[in-house]
């Protein structure tokens, strides 16, 4: 009779375990229960493994100033208890809301804006049955956690931040995955010895051997605490020909072999904090599983799980590290800003190589969380974004080569790149003049002036006309809606048929007195953005793919984001 306890009864209360060990009379009954289960299909064994697992913990961070979660996708087991921890490292508030599979998240979230005052009272949590679970709105540099029961139905469940303007870039997926098979016929052999590395167990004589009824690798030996080793052997059924990933964690050392091949090893004495993965391709069918383990002194723990083929990460051990998230896909990120320029109560100017803004780009970060890049080559607004301004590390560390893109999010380029602001057109359908890469023809850069609040006004001349181009921010990104107001003033004789190009897009749709301009995807520094914005200006008109306005002495243009509801 193996001197093991089993998992089922102890799931809810681990203290039962130690008690059961002192009451051997209970064991025969439990054992019977297990043998019955073992007769079930592999799936039953798998269920056994899963139900034995503790609550699965998922850790998700928000990346400072990037409007991003650090996790793209995580996997949970149907019906499992999931503890989700949201660490908000950003300067803006964020939540994490999990929606039902198939939910159009943007559509649900945008309903908030129909009654924003009420949505604000709910901390921007959508009032929708599609919300399955959610954290509270986490303030800047705080954390929130939520415990919920995973859906029982396999599928992809979207999650998102529902703060206004955040949803588009702060999304991910929770995968509810079918668990994989568990171990069958698990045996143990315990060895006594004092080791600092895994010994060659083949040359040693086991002190004790036996079966593990619940087929979960575990360490609860009543009389072994220090200086012992265990070899677990079992059969493992690969559901199909595929590559499988095994994860182990051990305090102290462990090594996993399948069919005699080492898959992953964590030798030597260390804590269980490190989880290591190893891969192996397996053919459909039964394989030999062998896990070798040793304990020196102090804490003792063993963890093993596998995933692959078409099933989710499945623990094969009774104990699961609390930090183990299972199958977690990290978002692509450079780890966040290293030397961000912080915008306080004055605009901050950054002249350097800015991705998408040519070689004479001028970045301006405005209070209110709106930023722009203006080109001193084309004398025009090139790019607008919100959130973080710019990370200077590329230019201020080492020699400083290359161009740096925006730090924030929701980037759009009104005229899709570098282009001159004004042109004389015979008709509004005429193609806009092509860019002269270094200096726009007929233009002369004159510099800029800062006002008392340090807001820049860009100055240039076009065909003898003195032009000033200035920007103001209304609202605050951190509080929700925000818009950018551009004021152009022309001093001099404006040529006939002169137009200012406000926007360029594959789609320009009139809406609410303005236009929604969209020009597909914008890729900058390996990040993708929706090149879409709202724009309004008196006299704006569509001409082909251009949004134009006849040049006049003073022009005011409002730029806003499609995810915000802006009253022009």
């Amino acid at each position: 009779m193996p001197n093991f306890s089993n998992g089922l009864h102890k799931l809810s209360n681990p203290h039962v375990l130690s008690r059961s060990l002192t009451k051997p009379k209970l064991l025969p009954m439990i054992f019977t229960c297990f043998t019955m289960l073992q007769k079930y299909s592999l799936f039953a064994a798998a269920l056994l493994a899963i139900s034995a697992a503790q609550a699965q913990t998922i850790n998700i961070r928000t990346i400072a100033a990037q409007m991003k979660y650090d996790v793209e996708e995580f996997t949970v087991i149907p019906g499992a208890e999931v503890k989700l921890i949201l660490e908000n490292g950003d300067d803006l508030p964020h939540n994490l809301v999990i929606f039902d599979a198939g939910t159009d998240v943007l559509a649900v979230v945008s309903k908030n804006m129909e009654k924003p005052e009420e949505a604000l009272k709910r901390d921007w949590l959508p009032d929708s049955p599609a919300v399955l679970a959610h954290t509270k709105m986490a303030g800047p540099k705080t954390r929130e956690e939520v415990v919920f029961k995973a859906p029982t139905k396999a599928g992809l469940y979207p999650f998102a931040c529902t703060f206004p303007g955040h949803t588009q870039s702060m999304q991910g997926k929770m995968k509810v995955g079918t668990p994989g098979p568990g171990l069958t016929g698990l045996k143990f052999a315990v060895y006594n010895g004092e080791w600092s590395k895994l010994p060659d167990f083949a040359t040693l004589k086991p002190h004790r051997e036996g079966d593990i009824a619940d087929n979960l690798v575990q360490l609860k030996f009543d009389d072994y605490k220090n200086q012992f080793g265990v070899v677990y052997t079992s059969k493992l059924n690969a559901p199909r020909d595929a590559e499988y990933v095994f994860s182990i964690g051990a305090d102290d050392g462990a090594r996993l072999l399948v069919d005699g091949n080492k898959v992953v090893e964590l030798d030597g004495s260390h804590s269980v904090a490190e989880i290591k993965d190893g891969k192996i391709a397996l053919k459909t069918g039964e394989h030999d599983f062998r896990l070798e383990y040793f304990q020196g002194t102090g804490e003792a723990q063993i963890f093993v799980a596998w995933r692959g083929g078409d099933f989710a990460a499945t623990p094969l051990s009774k104990w699961v590290p609390p930090t183990w998230g299972g199958d977690v896909k990290k978002a692509k990120t450079d780890g966040g800003a290293k030397m961000p320029l912080i915008v306080g109560n004055e605009p901050v100017i950054y002249r350097n190589f800015i991705s998408g803004a040519g070689n004479r780009g001028i970045g301006v970060g405005y209070p209110g969380g709106v930023n722009l890049a203006w080109s001193a080559e084309q004398l025009n607004l090139v790019m607008v974004w919100r959130g973080g301004f710019i990370d200077t590390a590329r230019h201020w560390v080492d020699r400083g080569g290359g161009a740096q893109g925006p730090l924030g999010y929701d980037v759009f380029q009104p005229v899709s790149g570098l282009s001159q602001p004004f042109a004389v057109l015979a008709s509004t359908d005429e193609e806009w003049p092509r860019t002269n890469k270094q200096w726009a023809d007929g233009y002369k850069w004159k510099g800029y002036k800062l006002d008392a609040k340090r807001y820049p006004t860009f100055l240039y001349e076009w065909e003898g006309v003195k032009v000033s181009d200035r920007y103001d921010v209304v609202g605050d990104t951190a509080k929700g809606e925000v818009k950018l107001i551009r004021t152009l003033k022309l001093d001099g004789k404006i040529p006939a048929n002169a137009y200012l190009r406000l926007g360029f897009g594959a789609s320009i749709t009139p809406e609410g007195g303005g236009f929604l301009v969209s020009n597909g995807r914008l890729s900058l520094d390996k990040r993708d953005f929706q090149n879409a914005f709202r724009i309004a200006a008196d006299g704006a008109q569509i001409g082909g793919k251009n949004l134009l306005i006849p040049a006049r002495a003073e022009m005011k243009i409002t730029y806003a984001w499609p995810t915000d509801t802006v009253k022009h």
Binding site: R351, N359, R360, A376, W396
Partner: protein, 484 residues
């Protein structure tokens, strides 16, 4: 017994070392604290009215500094401007500060008197910028004609990808840009001599066996042909000169290329420095010591300053280079000497390491009032050199040819990066005649080699009171041998 003698030798050596003069006995470096919120990577320095200074930095900031001429603990900084694309040149004129940044010369003014720049008026932005980090633009102060000079680094080391990379330009007061010299490689500083002639520092690389100090004569070709394709855009410069032949000699190619101006001085690589930067002329009328009107030239890599005595022979500038002062805290880039004879210097080691060891620095050099025993001037003569000293010499040692050792070498003038010292000639010093006032010595050599760097050691020379020369070495770039 043996041990004893070793100890006594050690003792002797140590006591001698203690007795010897040090640079710091004559010139003292003061390191200023700089504002914690920034990295003061000084790349340009200008003097402002009211005993103030302006510092331009690689991070694109311009700081004004008060009290930098006095007690260093009283120094105060104010951020005048920020967000500029590297400030590699600053010039003050009539209430405005002119900055040279990566793609323009702009006039900065503080319109409301709060100490911060409000107007950034572009004067000229007519040179090309391709986006390559190497394309630095260094700017000068106003020259004697009221023009600003800008030297434009090539796109990297070899080529010129966009307008006028590898050229020196003049910016006229109305903003007109005049292409002025071709042949620039990788400049790191501009300066004037006492007559207002313009010099720039170039760095070791292709067509540069060593870093150099060069004389910017309008219309000249400075030696690196990488940017010569822009001649058609510079009609004032005439026809494009022929490219130099690879693996040739500067002295040979000067015969072929009439526009080619040889370096005023080779800053001998690995000895004087590795990366020449600012150029300052001592116009303090003696307040910086005995080296009036000489040039003080810094090195980024060596974190030091060397001294150049420049003379003109057959219409060509050439100079003797002497070590001057080492021990600056970081790689020197920006420098400026005040009329009061204080040399302000600063820099950074970012991207290119520096001996100083600190990531950036802002420092001041003051003359202590003590005159070091040094070779003051070294002039070329038809058959040798004339050395004058800062103090009377001991006629016996100074008059002994054995006190001197010469070597003549050059670098290959080649497209390949850098290069070794080649074509060594070891001259025989045939006579050393001390002048009656004991202030100068006339040396005759059995051979002088035109175009070679003449390395001269004078370790044996003693002052009248028995001191050795503080820096007993000079490198003279003998572009021309005088007829008399």
């Amino acid at each position: 017994m043996k041990t004893l003698s070793i100890i006594s030798v050690l003792f002797l050596t140590t006591s001698l070392a203690f007795a010897a003069d040090k640079e710091s006995d004559f010139y003292k470096i003061t390191t200023f604290e700089t504002p914690k919120e920034t990295a003061m990577e000084v790349s340009s320095i200008e003097l402002l009215p009211g005993d103030k200074l302006a510092l331009g930095t690689r991070r694109g900031e311009i700081w004004t500094v008060s009290n930098a001429k006095g007690d260093p603990s009283q120094v105060k900084y104010q951020l005048f401007a920020s967000g500029q694309h590297e400030v590699m040149g600053l010039a003050w004129k009539d209430g405005a500060l002119y900055e040279t940044n990566r793609y323009e010369v702009a006039k900065l003014t503080d319109d409301d008197g709060d100490g911060r720049a409000d107007t950034f008026a572009t004067m000229s932005d007519q040179w090309g910028v391709s986006g390559d980090y190497h394309e630095y633009a260094f700017g000068s102060r106003f020259d004697k004609n009221g023009d600003l000079w800008v030297v434009l680094c090539l796109t990297g080391s070899f080529s010129s990808n966009i307008d006028f990379r590898g050229w020196a330009m003049r910016i006229k007061p109305d903003g007109t840009m005049v292409p002025t010299c071709s042949g620039i490689r990788s400049p790191a500083g501009l300066g004037f001599d006492a007559d207002g002639e313009v010099y720039y520092a170039d760095n070791q690389g292709p067509w540069h066996g060593a870093s150099t100090v060069q004389h910017l004569i309008p219309g000249s070709f400075q030696g690196h042909p990488g940017g010569n394709k822009w001649y058609p855009k510079a009609p004032n410069m005439g026809q494009r000169p022929p490219d130099p032949k690879d693996n040739s000699r500067m002295v040979t190619e000067r015969e072929r290329i009439k526009e080619l101006v040889p370096p005023v001085a080779y800053m001998v690589h690995g000895k004087i420095g590795n990366s020449t930067s600012f150029i300052c002329c001592d116009l303090s009328k003696g307040k910086f010591g005995p080296f009036q009107k000489q040039l003080f030239v810094a090195d980024q890599s060596f974190s030091n300053v060397s001294r150049l005595f420049v003379e003109e022979v057959n219409g060509i500038k050439q100079a003797a280079v002497f070590p001057f002062l080492s021990g600056f805290k970081s790689g020197l880039i920006g420098g400026r000497m005040s009329e009061e004879g204080q040399l302000f210097a600063g820099g950074s080691d970012r991207g290119w390491g520096a001996k100083g060891g600190k990531p950036f620095c802002f420092e001041r050099v003051d003359w202590t009032g003590k005159v070091p025993f040094e070779v003051h001037e070294m002039r070329a003569k038809p058959d040798g050199f004339e050395l004058t000293f800062t103090e009377p010499v001991d006629p016996t040692s100074a008059g002994d040819v054995a006190s001197y050792k010469g070597r003549e070498f050059t670098y290959s003038y080649r497209a390949q990066y850098g290069g070794p010292e080649i074509a060594d000639v070891i001259p025989k010093i045939t006579s050393a005649v001390v002048a009656p006032d004991n202030k100068s010595v006339r040396l005759t050599f059995d051979v002088l080699t035109k175009g070679h760097i003449h390395e001269l050691h004078f370790d044996g020379v003693k002052s009248a009171d028995g001191k050795p020369v503080l820096h007993p070495i000079a490198y003279y770039t003998l572009n021309e041998i005088p007829a008399k």
